[in-house]
């Protein structure tokens, strides 16, 4: 597992290439950590053109470091997924970036501003999708219209309602909506302000598979439109379907970061070749699956019964990664 991890180091490009800024932050969860909040590099981070730039982010709850030195660069227009088990620090991280939570250390720039100090015009450029349990007695149209009025250049509320799939339910009160419909209303409220950057914290938890696919389509449309999207999710398939890059968080640190297709060397590490032999199913691990298959076919003089060639799934990689941190 150690060697597996060391191969990640090269993938952590943002950590390696970044100007050395946030790493100097005290790693202990002591009150003194808070004093480092305004690292000198803050001004430098803010001038950067990235949508999100994070160096040495730390957040402690009592003696526990929920976020323990995270570096992150998310480019404009990118769809980025944060993966990780419960308690890995996903929500804490995203809430610091949203300006909801204060950090204990490190530097953060979101759309060029420090979220801890950013004002209304910054808020006008971000969208936050929150999942709320119950809502007041207002209708879908009233709520979306109301939220549109908070922004300087909102989308047309009627079109947003249509876009999230609530067309025809405009006059339905929020508490009369099904769980899935309510989630769509949450999304509508998050995107009606035409954000440059959209935060989605576990947006499809509780969705049925069909609703999840529809939601993915919506996110892809927003991404095509140039919206930068940061989402957290428990669903590996979701990260794979939507994200340009993913970061796996474990115990408050980034365990891996990269393209979901190649994360953990999925594309280059060994493949499994399996087939049905006369004496039962055979499996071999190989770095050269094509050669194995050719040899098999030659040996059998034609078809190979029950032939499969598999690479590790993102889930396999993920479980290895978070297992490694435990």
């Amino acid at each position: 597992m150690r060697t597996f991890l060391t191969s990640w180091k090269t993938l952590k490009a943002s950590r390696a290439d970044a100007p050395d800024v946030g790493h100097l932050v005290d790693t202990r969860c002591s009150p003194s950590g808070g004093a480092k909040r305004r690292a000198p590099a803050q001004a430098e981070l803010m001038s950067n053109e990235s949508a999100i730039r994070v160096r040495g982010l730390r957040k402690c709850y009592g003696p526990l470091a929920a976020v323990d030195g995270i570096d992150l660069d998310i480019e404009r227009g990118e769809v980025f997924a944060l993966l990780g088990p419960n308690g890995a620090g996903k929500t804490t991280t995203i809430e610091i970036l949203e300006g909801f939570r204060h950090r204990d250390g490190g530097t953060v720039a979101v759309l060029g501003a420090d979220p801890a100090e950013a004002g209304r015009s910054w808020r006008a450029r971000i969208g936050i999708v929150l999942q709320l349990s119950t809502e007041p007695e207002l209708t879908v149209a009233e709520m979306v219209g109301q939220f549109a009025a908070y922004y300087p250049r909102p989308r047309n509320p009627a079109e947003v309602i249509e876009l999230v799939g609530l067309g025809g339910l405009e006059r339905r009160r929020a508490h009369q909506l099904s769980g899935g419909q309510r989630r769509r209303l949450d999304v509508a409220l998050g995107i009606v302000g035409r954000p440059d950057l959209l935060f989605l914290d576990e947006p499809t938890t509780g969705f049925d598979p069909q609703a999840r696919r529809l939601f993915w389509e919506l996110i892809k449309l927003l991404a095509q439109d140039g919206t930068t999207i940061l989402l957290t999710t428990h669903y590996l398939a979701e990260a794979e379907a939507l994200a340009d890059r993913v970061a796996v968080l474990a115990a408050g640190r980034i365990a891996a970061l990269g393209d979901p297709a190649t994360l953990g060397g999925r594309a280059s590490t060994g493949a499994q070749v399996s087939w049905d032999a006369p004496d039962g199913r055979q499996t071999v691990q190989t770095a050269t699956p094509a050669r194995v298959v050719l040899d098999l076919a030659a040996g059998l003089g034609g078809d190979v019964p029950g032939l499969t060639v598999t690479r590790p799934t993102l889930e396999d990689v993920y479980l290895d990664l978070i297992g490694a941190q435990r």
């Binding site: 939570r101 015009s121 006008a124 009233e142 939220f147 300087p152 947003v160 439109d225």
Partner: protein, 283 residues
């Protein structure tokens, strides 16, 4: 469809766009606050209708006993219940709804938008103003219909009604907003918001004529706005000579205004220092 729904170039590189102003946003919030309030049956019954129901009930049970000096107990109850009604639609209304909004994340969601914080409070002011005026009108109507309540005839009495209403509503609203931070969850709002309000109504001359309240409880009641509000309203709706029934044998308008203004100042400071957009668990 998407091409029309989402204009190209979502990047805001152009000149800074004007953010919607607090007043316009606040007034449009206020409209929906009122709409939402009157759609929620529980709020309407508990916050809005209960004082009127209790007035009919208590007035029917005790209303025909004469209190002396040309005052019927029905009139006493009506004046007191108007004070209670103002407390209900301002203090209790805001204490319950804001703590519920905080718990279910409505406040957090608003905080994540560019909505000016003042707009939220302007919306609440509209809600309280509309509800409280309606409440007072309903209670006066009940009093006139059942208990020979007469509208004030002198300009001085109307003026008293206006300032007691205004100062009382503002004081109770600010205390309600401040207290909304206390319940750790909506389930706790009964002991924290409703129970103290209920107790105060009993000792402040709302449910029970103030003269029947034991002196030590009268002293406690005198700390809080409700006693002064109901006393001020008695001065509006009862004959002038009924002032002799008050513990001080006078309507004490000066003291009333001072106490209410002091609560407004204290409430404002509390709101500014303690208002939270999130629950304490949210960190």
């Amino acid at each position: 469809m998407i091409s029309t729904a989402i204009a190209p170039g979502a990047e805001s590189t152009g000149p800074e766009l004007a953010l919607p102003g607090a007043w316009r946003t606040g007034l449009s919030r206020g409209r929906l606050e009122v709409v939402g309030f009157f759609r929620e049956r529980q709020a309407v019954v508990f916050v809005f209708a209960l004082p009127a129901i209790l007035l009919v009930l208590l007035g029917s049970i005790f209303g025909h006993d004469a209190a002396g000096y040309g005052v019927s107990v029905g009139q006493l109850f009506t004046a007191g219940m108007i004070a209670g009604g103002i407390g209900s639609t301002s203090f209790q209304n805001l204490g319950l709804t804001i703590s519920a909004e905080r718990e279910r994340g409505t406040l957090k969601r608003l905080r994540g938008t560019p909505m000016p914080p003042a707009a939220y409070f302007i919306g609440k002011i509209v809600l309280v103003f509309v509800c409280t005026v309606a409440e007072v009108v309903v209670l006066i109507a009940v009093g006139m219909a059942f208990y020979h309540l007469r509208l004030p005839t002198s300009a001085a009495s109307w003026w008293t009604l206006a300032w007691v209403f205004a100062l009382g509503t503002v004081a109770c609203s600010l205390i309600g907003i401040a207290m909304s931070s206390l319940p750790s969850s909506a389930k706790n709002s009964f002991p924290v918001i409703t129970l103290p309000f209920l107790v105060l109504q009993f000792i402040s001359g709302v449910y029970v004529p103030f003269t029947n309240v034991p002196p030590w409880l009268q002293h406690i009641a005198a700390i809080f706005p409700l006693k002064w509000m109901s006393q001020g309203l008695r001065s509006v709706f009862l004959p002038a000579r009924a002032a002799i029934l008050e513990p001080a044998h006078s309507w004490q308008h000066g003291a009333t205004a001072l106490v209410l203004l002091a609560w407004i100042a204290a409430g404002l400071v509390l709101c500014l220092t303690t208002f939270r957009w999130r629950t304490s668990r949210d960190g």
